[in-house]
Structures are given as C-alpha cells and as structure tokens.
Symmetry: C2
Subunit: 304 residues, 2 copies
C-alpha cells in the first residue's frame, strides 16, 4: 500500500511513528511554513521532527529535537548576547549546519532532506511540499511576525488579526510531491494544525487541486478534541482566520479534497454536520499517549 502522509510537528510525529510500524510504502510530505533562519542556520522543525521520528531518535517527551541532546552551543550563544528563545540542541544544530551548508552549495531542500534521511538511516521517504521558501506569518497588533516569533518567542499571546503564507503564491509543488500524490493509494493528513501545518501546504498553488484530483482516498485524523487541539495554537489561529475551532472547522477547511475524517468520540455531535459536507466521518479515541495508541490510529486511518 502506497501511503502519503502530510505532516506537521508534534502531533503528526505520533501518527508517523504508528504508520512506520506498518508494512506500507510511506512517503512523508512535510510542512515548510515553520522553517526559519535562526543563528545563521536554516532550521526546518517539521522536516526534522519527521526525520528524527522515523530514525527513532526523536525526543518523544518534549515533542521536538533529538533525545538526550544538550544545549552547550545555545548557552554559549546566549553568553555572546544572542537572543536564544528558539531552543536548538547541539545535535539538532548539527542537522541544521549540515543542511545550511548543502543549501548554500546549491542543493534543493528536497536533496538536503534526502541526505539527512540517508545519513540518519531513515528508509522512509521524507520530502518537503516545496523547495521554495514559504513562511507562515502571523499578523498581530504588535506587527507581522514569523510563526516562531508568535508561538515560541511570544508564547502565542498576541492577538491575531490575520495569517498569511509569505512566498506561497510563487512557490511550486515539487515533482517528487506530485509523483507521490499520483502514485498514492491513500493520503493521510496527520493530526496537525490546519492553519500553520496543513495551511502552508494548501497555499502552494496546485497542491489542493492535486489532493482533490488524486485517485487515492484522502483521510484526516482531526487534531481537535472539542475546541482544543492536542498541542499548539490551532484553536486561536483557526478562530483568527474565521474557522470554527473544532473538528467541524477542520472538515470545512479540508472539504473539496477530504474523503474521510476521524474525530474524537466526544465530538459525536459534529458527525452529522461533517457528513453533510460529503465527508465520511468516523469516531475514535484520538488521543495518542502510548505507542499502542499510535499504532491503533495508524491502522484506523488506513482502514477508514
């Protein structure tokens, strides 16, 4: 079974860990909207968490970075007067150094990611949705800021008046992504922030129509339980862009290409409204606290 998984950060990594245990041909299409130049390095949090997860080295408790990593470089950067609100471990920094050098030498982000996966022993295919820079920007009364500034530096506290994707209009879906979608039997949207993880992908011209036009069944595992996401600022940002902050909001955002949505047992009241959008809706315990949950839900998204 050829499966393409669209992945963002922490929540997505959990489902990826489950999918990775199955005998499937898995390609991960990673979000690039949270990529950021930091400390002179090109940091790709969503690509890296996917690679680290599939390499078995991800810091599971923290939800990002490499297990057992230290922060000596960052502490020294702080001593040198650099603001270090964006945490990056020493080993994690090596990934970013490696990628930044490859990019400066002319590699595409797809090629650099392939090199990282290969070096980390990841047999699954991890590809960014685009090789062009796309940046999730959060407009607040304090100014227009990068998603990382909003979420990590400012703790998600500023009011949000608008969200946009810098560079998206001129970006192109890569040939690798097109081929993956065309050859897929199943497309899985991992539980991810619809605005900052899936949103940047959908903003790249051709990606939404690629999803709508592909022969594969497109299934999503909702990141929402009631009006709260598993993690991250999904609720606040969904409201800011005028979407209901619940699984019905997710369904509306994905309607047009989504065939099936798995929502939390507790959100049974939304089932009818979701079905009325032409989306097959099923219920599950969508929390992933243990490895067994990850595997259970991975199996469920493939059967949905």
């Amino acid at each position: 079974l050829k499966v393409v998984a669209l992945a963002g950060g922490t929540g997505s990594a959990k489902l990826l860990r489950g999918l990775d245990k199955l005998r499937i041909d898995l390609t991960v299409v990673a979000n690039v909207g949270d990529n950021v130049w930091m400390y002179g390095l090109y940091v790709c949090p969503d690509i890296d968490i996917a690679c680290y997860t599939l390499a078995g080295v991800a810091d599971r408790a923290r939800g990002w970075g490499i297990q057992g990593d230290s922060h000596r470089s960052l502490e020294q950067l702080a001593k040198l007067g650099t603001p270090t609100w964006f945490k990056l471990g020493d080993m994690d920094m090596a990934t970013c150094l490696f990628r930044t050098r490859l990019l400066r030498e002319g590699a595409t982000l797809t090629q650099a990611t392939r090199s990282i996966c290969s070096a980390l022993g990841v047999s699954r295919n991890v590809i960014p949705v685009t090789d062009d820079p796309v940046e999730t920007r959060i407009v607040t009364p304090q100014g227009d800021m990068h998603l990382q500034e909003f979420w990590v530096r400012d703790g998600g506290r500023p009011s949000v008046t608008r969200v946009w994707y810098r560079g998206a209009r001129g970006a192109m879906v890569t040939e690798e992504v097109k081929a993956a979608l065309e050859g897929a039997d199943r497309v899985v949207l991992c539980p991810a922030n619809p605005v900052t993880s899936i949103g940047p992908m959908l903003a790249v011209p051709g990606f939404r129509t690629g999803l709508a036009g592909c022969e594969a069944k497109v299934v999503a595992l909702s990141p929402m339980v009631g009006t709260s996401p598993f993690s991250g600022p999904a609720g606040k940002l969904m409201k800011a862009v005028g979407i209901r902050a619940d699984s019905l909001g997710v369904a509306k955002l994905y309607s047009g290409f989504l065939d099936s949505l798995i929502i939390s047992d507790g959100d049974v009241s939304l089932k009818e409204d979701i079905a009325s959008l032409g989306i097959d809706c099923s219920l599950a315990d969508t929390r992933m606290t243990a490895a067994s949950d990850e595997l259970r839900l991975a199996k469920k998204v493939l059967k949905a």
Copy 2:
C-alpha cells in the same frame, strides 16, 4: 605603556596570558591566515584563542578551544557523513555561528571580533591584521592545500614544496592596525610560527613597512629551541621556504624591522650571528610551562 602584540596560536596565547597580567595598554593583532570555512562556518582559530585566553576561558592543556567544551554537534555531524577532522567544540561552535552571522549581515571581521570580545568580557583590544581574506596555502606533491588540511587533516606529513598566502596581495591592513602600530610604545612578536602565523601578516602590503617605520621598539620571543619549535610545524615549513629552522632563521626573516630577539639559553651559539644582523639578542629560558614562566617572559619582552 602601549603594547601591540602580534599573535598566532598556542605559543602566542601563553605570552598573551603573561602580558595580560601587566598594567599595560595591550592590543593584540591576530593572524588570519589560518582562518577557514568549515561546516559552513567561518572559523578563526588564532583570533579565537586570543579572545578565549584573554577571557580566561581557553583550554590551556589542549592549546585551543574553550575549557570544558563538549563535542556533541561535531559527533552528530560525523554521523551525518561530514568529515570532522577539524575539531570544534559546541561552545567554540557558538562563537563561529555568532561571527558567521555577523559577517553575513555585513560586519567586518574587526567588528565581529570586537563583538565577540565585548560579549566574552575581554577588555583588551583584539584585532585581525586585515579584514580581507588571507589564507595560508601549503603546496605539496598531493596538491595545493589549506594550512588546516596540511596540519590538522594530514598531520603535517606531506612534503612541502612551497607556501603562499592566498589573497594577501590584494589585502589591506586595517585602520585599527595602522593606528595601533603608530601609537605603540612596544611591538611584541609572540612566539609563533614565522611561516604560518607571522608570515601571513607580513604578506599583507604595508604591514612590514609599518613595523619597520613605527617608533616603537619591536621585540620578538623566538618560538624555536634549537631546531624545534615549541609546537606546530614551524621547523618543516621554515625549511620548505628556504629559511634555517632555528632562531637565526627567525631573525633573518624579521630583519629589517626587528630591534630585539629573545632566544633560548641553549642557543647561545647563534647570538653573534643574530647580532650581526643588527638585532639585539638576549638569552632566556624561553619555555613556558607554568603561569610564572608566562609572566616572567612577558616582563622580559617589555624590558628587552
């Protein structure tokens, strides 16, 4: 007393530590010939060892880097398939990240070095001899290579047919260096490799004449004991460029601007030949094994 110290690496750092204990106005002019792009970062070993030494954080036993540093990033880079023969600690890497970012943002090497010193609490003035890239190149039968490739990667083993300083001809001595030489009461050449530490400085147009023309007395502490340097590849490289590999060779290389040379007690037989070059020559126990040696020799170079 305004003292300008010309400094290379490990040996120079010892004399700098002694000079730093004295009530003098000290400016360190650092070699740039061993600077190298490594892991996508601009590494300046001689500038950094001067800064770390004056900040009191240098790894004294090893002769480079920061005391207590770890190598997590480097180990991870190795896992990613990067050749990691050039050792760089995690904290040391932070310095390089910081500098590389400043340079990419348009700072000169002088400005970046000032920022690093200021952040590390170094009150002494550390300045590179030039803001232009100058690179010590070693020509061997295996090819023309960077000094670091010759010395660190290949362990100084290849035969050497020629040494040259890439970029030197078009480089310019900075205004800061000119002003330091003009205002100096004493110029001290720290014990340093004449070919790879002092040589690149002398190759920058105007620096040698600046030394010859300045009002300050110019004093050097020889890096040689007999035909061996305290550390590093000085002997082999001096022979390769056609200089005697001893303190007389050093004297000949510096004649024209050097007023006084302090050599090892054991080299008393060279004294007359050195004096015949018009250089005042004095003897000392030039080994610096303890802090007391560093202080003793620092006092001696100022009195020479």
